[in-house]
């Protein structure tokens, strides 16, 4: 089985630096301004949804047709998550760039994000189950995307019910 050509439901999450200083709900107006300006290239920005009341949930969600952006609190590690929903020519590169573009905009609001590490996850249990086989395939995909020895990959989520995910650390 191979999923490289079919798997586009990929996600990327970049952790916040000093998350305790961030008031998630204070960023709701920023997301609304992004919609006014359609500020993220390649995305039809649609709506903002407040999930700040949910423990370690999507936090503040910015819904786009192509993928969702969120100030996500899962794993107790607040960060910017981008989750691709529509196919793309190079979904991994598009997902990484989607997350980075949103981070760049949020940095203008005073937030800071880690530059040395991010999480890549597959949101597709059919093509990329959280199994040894799935891990090996995602790892291979990531190695191709980041050639060279200066990248460390660490699998996440031992619970096979959770999504397949890798922490990518840039050397």
């Amino acid at each position: 089985m191979t999923f490289e050509g079919d798997l586009y439901r990929l996600g990327v999450k970049i952790d916040l630096i000093e998350p305790a200083a961030v008031d998630l709900r204070a960023l709701i107006p920023a997301f609304h301004r992004w919609i006014q300006k359609q500020a993220l290239a390649g995305h039809l920005l649609i709506d903002v949804h407040d999930y700040s009341h949910v423990h370690e949930g999507p936090g503040i969600l910015l819904v786009a047709h192509e993928g969702n952006f969120s100030l996500d609190g899962s794993d107790g590690r607040p960060g910017l998550a981008y989750q691709r929903k529509q196919p793309a020519a190079d979904p991994l590169a598009v997902s990484i760039e989607g997350a980075r573009a949103a981070c760049r905009l949020l940095e203008t609001e005073g937030l800071r994000f880690r530059a040395d590490e991010f999480l890549v996850f597959a949101n597709d249990r059919l093509l990329a189950p959280n199994t040894p086989e799935g891990r090996s395939m995602l790892e291979s995909l990531l190695r191709k995307a980041f050639p060279g020895a200066r990248v460390a990959l660490a699998p996440q989520a031992a619970d096979p019910r959770e999504r397949l995910a890798y922490v990518v650390t840039l050397g």
């Binding site: 609304h32 649609i46 949804h49 009341h53 949930g57 819904v63 047709h65 969702n68 929903k85 059919l126």
Partner: protein
């Protein structure tokens, strides 16, 4: 590429798998423009696939109305409903009961097909938001693999059958209504007699008269358990409902023996389908029919209908199983006694734990803020259920989850597990446990932000919950984004629903205030409106009215009695103090809603889909025929001649059946009978008759029916064409039948 359909083949019940295949074909037909958008809208609604706010391709962004340029711009999934616009999937959970495995699957689909949040509704359903219609067949297949259907979760159909979440373990119940709720749900699902309603139809069960949990009096059909001379049965109600003007249900019968429950429900459905309003949506719920006819006449018509029903073994086949029904706990019972209690446990247990009727067991409520939980939380809750409860997870109408059959000795460990998940908050069933419909967050009909308001009030109360007087803690707050009452605001001590006012040319979100609903006696009385205040003043009003209640209540006086005693004028005075809206230049915050910084507008209001589209049974049946014909064409393409022949014939048979049913509703679904009746009732009287072609299309049908399968490619290709023409002729015939009906004598 492997897909879920292939992967799950064999693990879905065949009936559910078949229905989903049909639905997927309907999606394809709509894509090809072969199904009218209105018909398709009702089709998807009956699979629980709803539209969401902004799906008309427009959204006010705070400065202007922005056009949302969805990629499939020309394609719609209903009137003014863009194909690519995010939608909502409602998932029926009969009586709110689900297993850990089902909860885990729900978690997976929420993550992969929605936004990673499972939302519990006020009718024990789950809702997933921001879904795409293209993914709904896959989503449904995955749900079907664990025995969950979304069929008739929306639309003009029998909605989720709800029941008290304490059924089977409650101290006050007469008997466990769970198996009856399950049986009614199964029996009415897709039943031919429930396919032609003018509006939705909501049933509910309660084990007792005095508690609120079952909400029987506000339902279209309600059943309260009763024993008469040792026989099980129900006090049966009809014609309740909330909506703009709430109705209390009327007693249909003081005692319906258990064996009569299903046939009477069927007969009620037939009378509602026959006599209920179809054109004026605002008057189409059964409550209006009952009010119009009077309960005595309605009862007479139902009993008359009941007497005509052909016997159905399903009416009673479940009863033995119902009497034997029991749930298996994970652990034996054990008292809590002196077990160590973690910090916070006692406060949590005081509001969230209820001792069961069965000694040594308890029900633990998991408070879900605004009814939401993440996929990850859901998986862990499934784990906790397996460890401490068993197979018995239930959702509640107060948008929580309860775990039943928890050995009391395990409660501290369960609490510890919930705290780790961020789900250990106390306050279930208290003023903190605010109920809210989706409102302007996602609903097309929402006027004000019920969830934004609920979040704000909850946040303010959480910090001082333990300093509140116990009388204030016990109050219930419920809010809806509009007058349609999905937040069940009439049932609360203090209820709100969203409205708007114009101040100096600008729109200001407001909430209408209702006081004095009674959360007992299956909702024995509804709250009464006392006036409206700006959304931004609602939290202040909550503070003032609760403080006054604590200060001035007499003895153990309840809130409804308190409100009745101080009088409506006094309540109105309290409201009036909070009515003024400051000028925009002084305080612009009043001109935005809670949680939404955009200047408030009504421009985003859409056309609601709760009412569904008025599409007759005949339209649906003819669409089914078209779908079969389309599948025949696909078989031809795939060179499956035998398959194409069979489907083309079945398409004609289906169309003939659809028409015959207009003349003889209970016609058996047997080819020979359908053909005979079609000839006698439609062809020979020249009702199925083309002005130019005469009976040709019918003859095509009879040739295949009498002659059996054809086998050559050419013959089958011709048959598929004839099948299409037969269906077209059936549509024309249907128009004539409608005209005939319209010209006929008025219904009683």
């Amino acid at each position: 590429m492997l897909n879920w359909k292939e992967k799950l083949a064999g693990s879905m019940p065949s009936d559910l798998a078949g229905e989903i295949d049909v639905y997927e074909t309907q999606i394809e037909l709509r894509r090809l423009g072969k199904v009218d958008e209105k018909l398709f809208a009702e089709t998807r609604l009956r699979r629980g696939v709803y539209g969401q706010r902004y799906d008309n391709g427009q959204r006010h962004d705070g400065t202007r109305t922005q056009h949302l340029g969805y990629p499939s711009a020309a394609l719609t999934k209903g009137p003014e409903t863009m194909w690519d616009a995010p939608g909502m999937q409602r998932i029926k959970i009969p009586f709110g009961g689900l297993s850990p495995a089902q909860l885990e699957l729900l978690a997976d689909v929420a993550e992969e097909h929605a936004d990673g949040i499972l939302h519990v509704t006020t009718r024990q359903d789950f809702q997933l938001h921001f879904t795409h219609i293209d993914e709904t067949p896959t989503l449904m297949r995955r749900l079907a693999s664990v025995g969950i259907t979304t069929r008739e979760a929306c639309g003009n159909a029998v909605r989720n059958v709800t029941a008290c979440p304490l059924a089977g373990v409650c101290h006050t119940e007469t008997f466990d209504v769970t198996p009856y709720a399950k049986a009614l749900s199964r029996f009415l699902l897709g039943h031919p007699d429930t396919q032609d309603f003018g509006r939705k139809f909501k049933p509910a069960f309660s084990g007792c008269e005095q508690e609120a949990c079952g909400l029987v009096h506000m339902h279209d059909l309600g059943a309260i358990a009763r024993l008469v001379d040792g026989r099980r049965g129900f006090r049966l109600f009809v014609g309740g409902g909330l909506g703009t003007v709430p109705y209390q249900a009327k007693v249909f019968s003081e005692f319906v023996p258990e064996e009569e429950l299903l046939p009477l429900a069927q007969a009620i459905g037939r009378v509602y389908a026959r006599l209920g309003e179809k054109q004026n949506r605002a008057r189409a719920r059964i409550k209006f029919l009952v009010a119009k006819l009077g309960i005595d006449e309605f009862r007479r018509l139902v009993l008359e209908e009941r007497a005509l029903l052909p016997p159905d073994p399903r009416w009673t086949s479940y009863i033995g199983e119902a009497h034997a029904f029991h749930e298996t706990p994970s652990k034996p019972p054990a008292p809590l006694d002196g077990a160590p209690r973690p910090a916070g446990f006692d406060a949590w247990a005081a509001t969230n734990v209820h001792r069961q009727r069965q000694p040594g067991y308890a029900v633990a409520a998991i408070t879900l803020p605004l009814g939401d939980l993440t996929s990850r939380q859901a998986r862990r809750v499934a784990d906790l259920a397996r460890r401490y409860s068993g197979d018995s997870i239930r959702t509640t109408v107060e948008q929580n989850i309860v775990l039943r059959w928890v050995s009391e000795a395990d409660l501290p460990a369960l609490y510890g597990g919930l705290v780790v998940l961020g789900l250990g908050e106390p306050g279930a069933g208290t003023i903190l446990d605010v109920t809210a419909c989706p409102g302007t967050d996602t609903c097309k009909l929402g006027i004000a932000s019920s969830r934004g308001l609920a979040r704000e009030i909850r946040g303010r109360l959480a910090g001082r919950f333990f300093t509140l007087d116990t009388a204030a803690r016990g109050l219930r707050l419920k809010m809806s984004g509009c007058f349609n009452s999905c937040g069940q605001h009439h049932t609360a001590d203090i209820g709100f629903y969203g409205i708007t006012r114009t101040v100096a040319g600008r729109k200001v979100p407001h909430f209408q205030v209702l006081l004095g609903g009674t959360w007992k006696d299956n909702i024995g009385a509804y709250g009464l409106s006392v006036g409206s205040i700006p959304a931004k003043n609602v939290p202040l009003f909550v503070d003032r009215i609760t403080e006054r209640f604590v200060r001035e209540r007499r003895g153990q006086e309840g809130f409804a009695d308190f409100v009745g005693r101080i009088g409506k004028q006094e309540c109105r005075n309290m409201i009036e103090e909070l009515m003024p809206v400051p000028a925009y230049e002084t305080d612009p915050s009043y001109y935005s809603d809670w949680g939404d910084p955009r200047e408030f507008t009504m421009g985003d209001l859409g056309t609601g889909e709760c009412a569904g589209e008025v599409v007759s049974r005949l339209d649906f049946d003819l669409q089914a025929a078209e779908r079969l014909c389309f599948e025949a064409q696909l078989k031809m393409e795939a060179r499956d001649v035998a398959g194409a022949d069979d489907l083309a014939y079945r398409a004609m048979l289906q169309a003939a059946l659809a028409l015959v049913k207009e003349k003889w509703y209970d016609v058996p679904n047997e080819p020979a009978v359908i053909a005979r009746e079609f000839r006698a009732r439609l062809l020979e009287p020249k009702i199925f008759w083309d002005r130019f072609a005469g009976g040709k299309f019918a003859q095509d049908f009879f040739r295949r029916h009498d002659g059996g399968p054809v086998s050559s490619g050419d013959e089958v290709r011709r048959l598929v064409e004839e099948s299409q023409l037969f269906i077209e002729a059936a549509h024309a015939c249907a128009d004539r039948l409608r005209q005939e009906k319209a010209a006929g004598p008025p219904l009683p």
